[in-house]
Each structure stands twice: as C-alpha cells, then as structure tokens.
Amino acid sequence: MIKTQILRIWKFYWDGFRSMTIGRTLWALILIKLFIMFAILKLFFFPDFLSGKTSEEKQEYVGHELINRSAKSIN
C-alpha cells in the first residue's frame, strides 16, 4: 500500500519534470545557484564566525566583545 503510494508520488514528479519546457532552464538555474551558495559562498566566504567554539566559549567570547567595545567615556 505504502509502496504503491510512493510509486504514485514518484511517477507524479517524474512525469511532471519530463513534461517541463521552460522549467528545465529554471531547474538548471536553481541548481547552479544552490551550488554557488552552499558549495562556494558558504564554504569559502561565509564560515560561521563563532564555529568551532563550545557554547561556553561563545558566551565568553561575545561577553568579552560586548564589554570591551563599550564607548570609552561620556562627559
């Protein structure tokens, strides 16, 4: 029963993709865009600044930053 349902869903998507005209260009565009975003930009240009730190280390780091960036003096 479940297998039949999965097959029906598969066939629905398969037929849909096969009958696409303009959609193929769009799918190519989506895949290229996602590749650039996740395999290039995220990996090489947008690492998480606090990655590799434990929660305690993040608290310590951000706490230190927020305290030390305070404006020097106010008259």
Binding site: I22, L26, L29, K33, L50, E65, L66, A71, N75
Partner: protein
C-alpha cells in the same frame, strides 16, 4: 575597544546586507502578489468552468514559477551574513531570532515544495478543487513564511517578550506570543504583504497593457487587468491604512526614525506634515504621530536633548543620560562576570540588579557621540516621500483602470497602456523605498536601543567583506538578468494556444 573596529568594515557589511536584502526583495513581493491574482483566476475557472480563466491563470502561473525559481533561497544568504558578519548580534538575540526563522524555513520548505509541485505538475492529474487548493496553499505558504520573517524584523525594531541573561550574554524568549503578535509585527505584516499584492497587481496590469499595445490577446489582457485592478485597489487602500498605523507606532517606539522621515529638527505641538519643500499640511504630522491635531512631536534635537513629556507621562531622558545608563549596564555586566568567577553571590545579585535597571539603554553604552544616533535624514526623508507618493499614485491608477474597465474602454487608450508599463518599475521603487525608510531610519540600531551596529559586527577584515560584496553584486545581477530574460521570453510567447 571600539576604536579597533574598522568603521569602513561596518559600512561595507551594512552595504552588503542592504544589497542582498534589496535584491531578495525584488523577488518576494511579486511571488506574494501573483499568488493571490492567479489564485483568484483559477477560482473563477473552477466556479465557472470557463477554460478562458484556466488559460489566463496558467500564463500568470508560468511567470510566478520563473520568479519563484530565480528568487528561491536568495534570502538564505542573509542568514549566512548573520553568522559571519554579525556574529555578536546572532549570539545576543539568541532563540528569539532563531525560532521564527526556523519555523519559516520548515513551513516554507514543506508547504511551498509540496504545493508548488501539485500546482505546476497536477493540472490533469488531480481534481480541479485539489489543484485550486494547492494554488492557494502555495500562496499561503509564501505568506506564512513572510509572517515569520517580518516577526523577526519587527522584534529588532520593537524588542519585546524577552529577558537578558547575563550568564549566557543572550536575550531569552519569555513570551512567544508577545514576540509573534507584537503590534509592530502585525502592522508590518499587513503593510508589507498587502503592498506586495499591489506590486503584483501593477505587474499584471503592465504586462497585460503590453499585449494590448501589441494588439495581441485582447480578451486575456482585459480580463487580467480587471482582476489585478480589483486586487490592487483593495491592497492599496489597506496599505494606506496600515501605513498610517505604522507611522503612529514609529512615533511611539522609534521617534528618531519619524523625525528623520520628516527632517524635523525642532519639533513642537500642532506640527505640519511636509509634502515637499514648503508645501505643508497644517497639523497633519501631529495627528499622524499622536492621533491628536495638537499633539507634541519631538524633532531630532528634542530627542537628543530630552526633557519633553513622553506619551506614558514620563520625561524623555537626554541622549547623554541614556549613554551613561548604557555604560552602567555594560560595566555591571563586566562586574557580574567577575563576581561569578570569584563565586561572590552578593556582588552577582547587585550587578544583575544594575543590569536589569539599565537594560533598556544597554545599546547606548556603545555610542560615543550623540550625533551618531541620528540616521541619514536625507535618505529617510526622500525614501518616505517616494513610497507615500507612489502609494497615492497607485490608488488613482487602480481606480482609473477599474473605471475604464466598467466603461469597457480598457483596450482603447495607448497612453494608458504606456503608463501601465512604466508603472512596473515604479512599483518596485515604492517597495524598495518602503524598506529603506524602515531600515535606514532605525540606524544605528540592529536592535532598537539594545545593540548598535558597531557592537553587533564581527571582527572581520574589511578586504574580505569588500570581496564578498562584489561577489554578491555579480551573482545577483546575473540572476536578475536571467530572470528578466526568461520572463520576457515567456511574456513574448504569451498564453498557451486556445484548446
């Protein structure tokens, strides 16, 4: 110390975020607007059984699909930037920002991915009603995701429902409903979504006008214009209403933004609203800001100097006093951490008390010059006028289209079709101007009164931010050119041949 943060790096990071957000916002409003219009067209098809509406709906769905495909996931880049460029901010906001974005991600993925597929692939495979439901649910999914994004944005403008935890250096959500349904979020949602419907309506009318100019598809074009003008007029009136509500909220929660929008340096009672130059509407600003024609509206100098009476009856503090209080909160945070390390509970309690007392001014502790609390007045002033002016123009535009549709003269006037075509970029301009008002006007805050940009930013090299700025500029420009190219091709092809 503050001095060691390169201010040009802050500016480049802000420019990068603005660039990404503005490009992302080229795609979103059209998705939201077209979803409603094509939903209505398909509803007419299901009700009447008339194939004409099916053919019409399918054409706009195709354009919706192009816009959706090119725009999908462009917003994720903003989330990358939170982690990289704005790491202090990301940690400081904690789960308050994370929760709405997580809900948005899950909902957007499941609702849109499921129903978009049925909408595009299911025409001859599912029942008419199921297909119609899928079309509406696709639009609802996109709107629902807009809700959560706007909740997150509104919280930055009007932070509520949280408490600062000095142990974790994070704000923790204490009232989910206060965050999800804050009055600012509700107003912003309706204002933003309905203005997106306006943009969608202008787009449909403009493209339809192109067909009329080319003497093609007259019946299709006139029918599309009628539906779009009805949606557009309704949406533009609601947008005007929510815009008024939004201005009132800004006056209460972000008075500096309102003063910048009006270039009002020295406020007072019975304040006039500046249209442009010396053209003013007497007492209107007072009414918009306080719902009282004689109400007091503080100007930029008044806000910096304080001393006037706030709506809650208390006296407004001068900026210098707020800065002192902010410094006290930050110093108390340092004391708290030291006392915690030393295991001194009494000192921890005392420091916590000082933090709580001064927390509303926490962000002012990072401000070293009161003048840096003033946003870009020129940009806020003109962006506001562009948004409102075009909003008014669109009300007249939609009313005129509906009037001519009633007279059955929509296809007759070439000048109207040219105006409709020119109105497409104007709708985008109005939409972008709205966000400029909202975001430029709240500078220097990432979170109103709690965290300015110079405290929110990560310690990055300016060069790396400049590099990624230009990578984005190129990537998004290519995507935009691709979208426009594919869309123009689809428009030139026109609706499918009649069966």
């Amino acid at each position: 110390m503050l001095e060691s943060i390169d201010t040009s790096m802050i500016d480049w990071s802000r420019a990068q975020f603005a660039l990404t957000a503005m490009y992302h916002w080229l795609f979103v409003p059209l998705t939201l607007g077209l979803a409603v219009i094509m939903g209505l067209m398909e509803t007419l098809y299901v009700i009447s059984g008339n194939e004409y509406w099916k053919r019409t709906a399918k054409f706009w769905m195709k354009l919706f699909g192009i816009n959706f495909a090119v725009g999908v996931a462009t917003g994720l880049i903003l989330e990358f930037q939170f982690g990289t460029n704005w790491s202090n901010y990301s940690w400081f906001v904690g789960d308050i920002f994370g929760a709405p974005l997580a809900i948005e991600g899950i909902v957007a993925f499941f609702m849109e991915a499921t129903f978009v597929a049925v909408m595009f692939f299911g025409w001859n495979k599912v029942s008419k009603k199921f297909h119609l439901a899928s079309t509406w649910l696709t639009g609802l999914g996109a709107t629902f995701s807009a809700w959560w994004i706007l909740v997150a944005n509104s919280w930055m403008q009007y932070p509520v429902g949280m408490a600062f935890n000095p142990d974790t250096v994070r704000n923790e959500m204490v009232d989910f409903w206060a965050v999800a349904f804050s009055p600012v979020a509700v107003t912003k949602f309706f204002h933003t979504v309905l203005s997106s419907w306006m943009l969608g309506a202008v787009f449909v009318i403009g493209v339809s006008a192109w067909f009329l100019l080319r003497k093609r598809e007259k019946e299709f074009a006139v029918g599309s214009m009628k539906i779009a003008a009805m949606v557009g007029l309704f949406a533009s009136l609601v947008t005007a209403f929510t815009g008024d509500k939004s201005a009132y909220q800004v006056a209460q929660c972000q008075p500096m933004k309102l003063a910048a929008m009006e270039a009002l340096y020295d406020g007072g009672t019975n304040e006039a609203l500046t249209v442009v130059g010396d053209i003013k509407i007497p007492k209107m600003l007072s009414y918009l800001a306080t719902h009282d024609f004689e109400g007091y509206v503080p100007g930029i100098n008044n806000i910096l100097l304080g001393g006037y009476i706030l709506p809650d009856g208390t006296e407004a503090l001068p900026a210098l006093e707020k800065m002192k209080n902010g410094k006290k909160a930050i110093a108390a945070l340092a004391d708290y951490r030291e006392a915690k390390q030393a295991g001194n509970q009494a000192e921890m309690n005392a420091a916590r008390e000082t933090i709580e007392e001064n927390m509303p001014y926490f962000g002012y502790g990072y401000i070293d010059d009161p003048n840096s609390l003033v946003p870009n007045v020129w940009l806020s002033f003109w962006a506001f006028r562009v948004m409102v002016g075009l909003g008014m123009y669109f009300i007249v535009f939609f009313a005129l289209i509906l009037f001519l549709a009633r007279k059955r003269k929509l296809s007759e006037f070439n000048w109207l079709h040219y105006i409709a075509l020119i109105s497409i970029p104007l709708a985008y301009l109005a939409s972008q101007a709205g966000w400029i008002v909202a975001e430029v006007g709240r500078q220097p805050w990432t979170i109103q009164d709690l965290l300015p940009v110079n405290a929110a930013i990560s310690r990055l090299e300016t060069g790396s931010v400049v590099t990624t700025f230009f990578i984005f500029l190129i990537l998004f420009t290519v995507l935009l050119i691709a979208e426009i190219g594919i869309m123009l091709k689809a428009i030139q092809k026109g609706p499918e041949e009649k069966a």
